[in-house]
Amino acid sequence: MTGPSDRSPIPDAVRERAAAWHVRLGSDRAGDADWLDFEAWLARDPVHLRAYEAVEQLWSDLDALGVLAAASQAPSPPPPSNVAPRVPRAARAARRQPAWLGALAASLLAMVVIGGTFGGLSLWAGRPRTETFDTALGERRTVALADGTHITLNGGSHLTATLGRGERRVVMASAEAAFDVARDPDRPFLIEASDREIRVVGTEFNVLHQGGAMKVTVRRGVVEVRPKGAHDAGPLARLTKGQSLTHRVGQASDAVGAADPDAALAWTTGRLVFQGERLSEVATTLARYGGRPIEVAPDARDLRVTASLNIGSQDEMLRSLSDFLPVQVERRTDRLRLSLRR
């Protein structure tokens, strides 16, 4: 990796080619042939690899800038930064004032000064920063944390994420979120939901916390659940692929069972899958997608629902449901009411 050639300047033409490769491979149209051509180019001259690594380094430096800008903008409401996580994606994209670069620049310089007092710590290992993410009812959004973890938030969710040096911590208020956690054995990933804490090393799973109940469903890897704050206690449960845990706040017990992770995570791809849930539970789930509150008449509450719905408007989803359930929908001004069809 090191040697006299490492210090030699990279010719402009090579730098240009490296940038062009990064763009070509980052395109949604890239195919197998592009990667094979790229490999042949890399193999032709060691300076090509150095040039390409410089572009990758730039890419990851920019991630650090994005996180900084977001963190520095979070406490003061206006003017919002274009990369602040509180602003929904559509709203961010609609704003195009060139001032975003200035905001980025200011926050970076501030960080550089702080960095100096830390003895030159890199941005990756800087002070813990808390980011807040909210979604409106019916909105679905995926956010990337600086460690490479991706969180997909379902509508009506509120959570905060803090990437500390010794741990990564997410606190879920009422929320549903799917996590794809970047592996980092030195920094456990912890999620607080109700009075439970979920501990992860690197995995993909879904957490639903709403109305005092929480449910964790694991698609990949292993997660542990323990009472919040009980760091020394052993876990209440260790869940692996295809298992779920449900818990109601305040209760001592947790129920572990088999669950279909694809069904639990279907919402991340625009579908809702029900496998024998009560209609009353289905109505609670639908409320997350906006529209009027849904009331279920006592005679229909225990109907079991097995269905796969496209996530759409409340009307569309209820219409699909009433196609295969014996229920009728009454529209009132302030709410909808589902009851057994007579």
Binding site: R24, R29, G119
Partner: protein
């Protein structure tokens, strides 16, 4: 026996190619083998994304991200060890092994200062396309749609930005 899922099938076809590619990228056949093994674990129970056009390109991309994540984790560990030794260490001589970490931190600070100066100089359209792709995560096609220009213009803008941001001359 049923056919394997498309990603696994592509992996089986491409395994040797991937090891060769990552050997070139990392300079180490052993690291490349590890990476390609990790890649298998990663894709083994993954549903291919609905908009995936090429399973092969997807494997290269996921593998490259794993490689970069690994590099990043190593740098973080180095920085943490360095910070700890600064916090705990008295005024004794720094162990030789710490020096590269300190150099690296200074170099990265200078790099970021230069980067900010250059971000400020990008023409507005270039900056808009670059921001939508890099910070808002839109694909080239989505950026094109958003800005009402062709996909190839978007790629030119992003290239211009990269060229400006990686150039070595003074800011």
């Amino acid at each position: 026996m049923a056919d394997p899922p498309p990603l696994i099938a592509a992996y089986m076809r491409k395994r040797a190619d991937l090891v060769r590619f990552f050997t070139l990228r990392t300079g180490s056949p052993a690291t490349a083998e590890d990476l390609v093994q990790d890649l298998y674990v990663k894709i083994s129970d993954m549903a291919p994304p609905p908009d995936m056009r090429s399973a092969e390109a997807f494997l290269y991309r996921v593998g490259s991200n794993l490689m970069l994540d690994r590099n990043k984790a190593q740098r973080r560990r180095a920085a943490r060890d360095h910070a700890w030794s600064q916090a705990a260490g008295g005024d004794g001589p720094e162990p030789v092994a710490q020096e590269p970490a300190a150099d690296e931190a200074v170099a990265s600070r200078q790099r970021l200062e230069r980067l900010v100066a250059r971000l400020d100089r990008l023409p507005p359209t270039v900056a808009a396309a670059f921001r939508l792709h890099k910070f808002d995560g839109l694909s080239h096609s989505e950026v094109a749609e958003r800005l009402g220009v062709s996909r190839s213009s978007v790629e030119k803008y992003i290239m211009t930005a990269l060229r400006t941001l990686t150039s070595e001359d003074e800011p």
